[in-house]
């Protein structure tokens, strides 16, 4: 390696306009490491006399003139990273790109969801208060009268949408899960209108780029508020019926693949099961061990069956202890009572289904 370095240095010398002394001393250091003694003067003489180089220029990945250019650019970038770290830490907002047309984006947003939105209402639904504040500050700085700024934020629409979503969903569950108790319906609605669910929904429907707010990417609160406001805007634009279909199609379908018995947490399942059994007239119920294995090991397993007053098996539960197995058995009986045992039949979406016209793949474009 040292040998090749020396060759490189010597080859540069004829084209280098400055620093022949420095290069020479470097070459001396390199050579003395090889154990070949050299006098500095002698070497300098040789270099200065080398007007016509006979050395072959070795292969390099980066050419010398490009290397200098890169050094400069790297230094600039490092300086910029130090001075303005936010520019490198944050993702660039999509709307700051050249190819961006907000009007087209809003049009496509409605078409994508198969809905007709009033343009002004949709803009209002996607406008956060932070955006208005930012615009106002900007105009004040420019000396423009801010009282003329008439932008509405999405607070009102989101309240409207939230109320509508809760109503529609609870009505939907009363229809689809008639045996499920009122508390369960409330828990399901609460889950579907929670910030976590709505954030996931909004961020997967392309809200990220079209919400008008100060921060980027938008916070969870902004996502939630905007999604609910879009429901409100839809109700004002296209009427109640379309908004209800929208809520059911987008929110209720999220329960597909989820166990709804896990969403509603029952504190005392055995107690609740006994109460319900009394109402249904199958009391007294009795738990019994129907299977067990490895009783004296840490891998013990029990299967507990619950029998009603006619000694019929109405549910069974599994557990590593008898307590857990009995609790799971009670949960199983409750699923029977509520008609929510897995696998559940799917909900009726057909009445509310709006098929998007799916264009098939192109086979042959020659007409």
């Amino acid at each position: 390696m040292i040998h090749s370095l020396r060759r490189a240095v010597l080859a540069i010398v004829p084209v280098s306009p400055y620093g022949s002394r420095m290069l020479a001393s470097f070459a001396v250091g390199a050579q003395s490491r090889e154990g070949v003694p050299h006098h500095e003067g002698r070497l300098q003489q040789r270099i200065s006399g080398a007007g016509t180089s006979v050395f072959v220029v070795p292969h390099r990945n980066v050419s010398q003139y490009e290397r200098k250019y890169r050094e400069v650019m790297n230094a600039r970038r490092k300086k910029e990273m130090f001075v303005n770290p936010e520019r490198f830490a944050k993702p660039f907002p999509r709307y700051s790109f050249v190819d961006w047309n907000y009007k087209s984006e809003l049009y496509a947003f409605g078409k994508r969801l198969s809905e007709e939105f009033d343009d002004a209402l949709l803009r209002e639904a996607l406008t956060d208060q932070s955006y208005i504040n930012k615009e106002r500050t900007k105009q004040e700085e420019l000396g423009i009268d801010t009282t003329l700024l008439e932008i509405r934020n999405n607070q009102e629409l989101s309240e409207l949408g939230a109320q509508l979503a809760r109503e529609v969903l609870s009505r939907f569950f009363q229809k689809e899960l008639p045996l499920f108790p009122e508390e369960g319906h409330t828990a399901l609605v609460k889950f579907l209108t929670s910030q976590q669910t709505l954030t996931e929904m909004a961020s997967n429907l392309g809200f990220r780029d079209i919400i008008l707010c100060e921060e980027y990417p938008p916070s969870d609160e902004t996502y939630t508020r905007s999604f609910l406001a879009v429901i409100g805007a839809l109700q004002k634009s296209s009427g109640n019926e379309r908004a209800e279909k929208f809520v059911i199609d987008f929110l209720a379908s999220l329960l597909c693949g989820k166990d709804i018995n896990e969403i509603w947490n029952i504190d005392r399942p055995w107690h609740m099961m006994v109460e319900l059994a009394k109402q249904k007239g199958v009391y007294p119920v009795e738990p019994r061990i129907i299977r067990e294995a490895g009783r004296n090991t840490i891998h013990a397993v029990y299967v507990v069956g619950v029998y009603d007053k006619d000694k019929q098996l109405i549910g069974k539960g599994i557990g590593e202890t008898l307590d857990i197995a009995q609790e799971m058995a009670a949960r199983d009986v409750l699923k029977q009572f509520f008609n929510t045992k897995e696998p559940m039949p799917p909900f009726e979406f057909q009445s509310a289904n709006i098929p998007y016209k799916l264009v098939p793949h192109v086979r042959n474009i020659h007409k």
Binding site: R94, V98, D99, W100, N101, S104, E105, Y107, A108, K111, R112, L113, S114, E200, M201, S203, N204, L205, G206, R208, I248, D249, F250, A252, S253, L254, C256, G257, I289, I290, R291, E292, A293, V303, E342, P343, P346, F349, A352, N353, I354, P355, Y356, L358, V359, H361, V362, I365, H366
Partner: protein, 180 residues
Amino acid sequence: MSQLSLFVKSGFVKAPLANGIGRYVPQCQRMTLKFCLGWGNSRGVRDFIQHDLIEFVKQNPGTVMYLKPRRHRSPVLVAEYLNGGREWFSLNDMTREEVYKWVDLYRTKAGYPDMHFKNYQHSDIPSIQGYWTPFTNKPADRNMLEFPQNSLNTPLNLKPSTSEIISKLYGEPQEQRSSR
């Protein structure tokens, strides 16, 4: 295709947000076609824009199409998806038909990175008849028995012994024998 690739991830098919159960939402939200007005390697893209783009956009109103002419660079398709995914694809030296097919493919993708599918189907509840357990099809008396049980020692597929065969062939009721 090997599942052990370091670069191509493997996984199961999935759809964002239970797409298609309530209603179907096309996942490609915008596409940008970058091309050169002069160079020949953008010829196919220019032809596509001239002849097919309007019809394509009318058929797919949910996808915003941006055209970005730029001088002396090769043509490129950038597709962006609702889940934040972004796909970059070179359309260099492609004919009009090829461009149409590739644009159409990127229109129908979901925005997840390309992966090797372990299975072309996926189900959260793979078994309708219920999961297998060690107690499946096991006689119900096993929980009540006291072990060891001699009755359970009988070998499977036990053939009759010679003594049993002889008894069956030549054995007679006791009365007949005593009368003889």
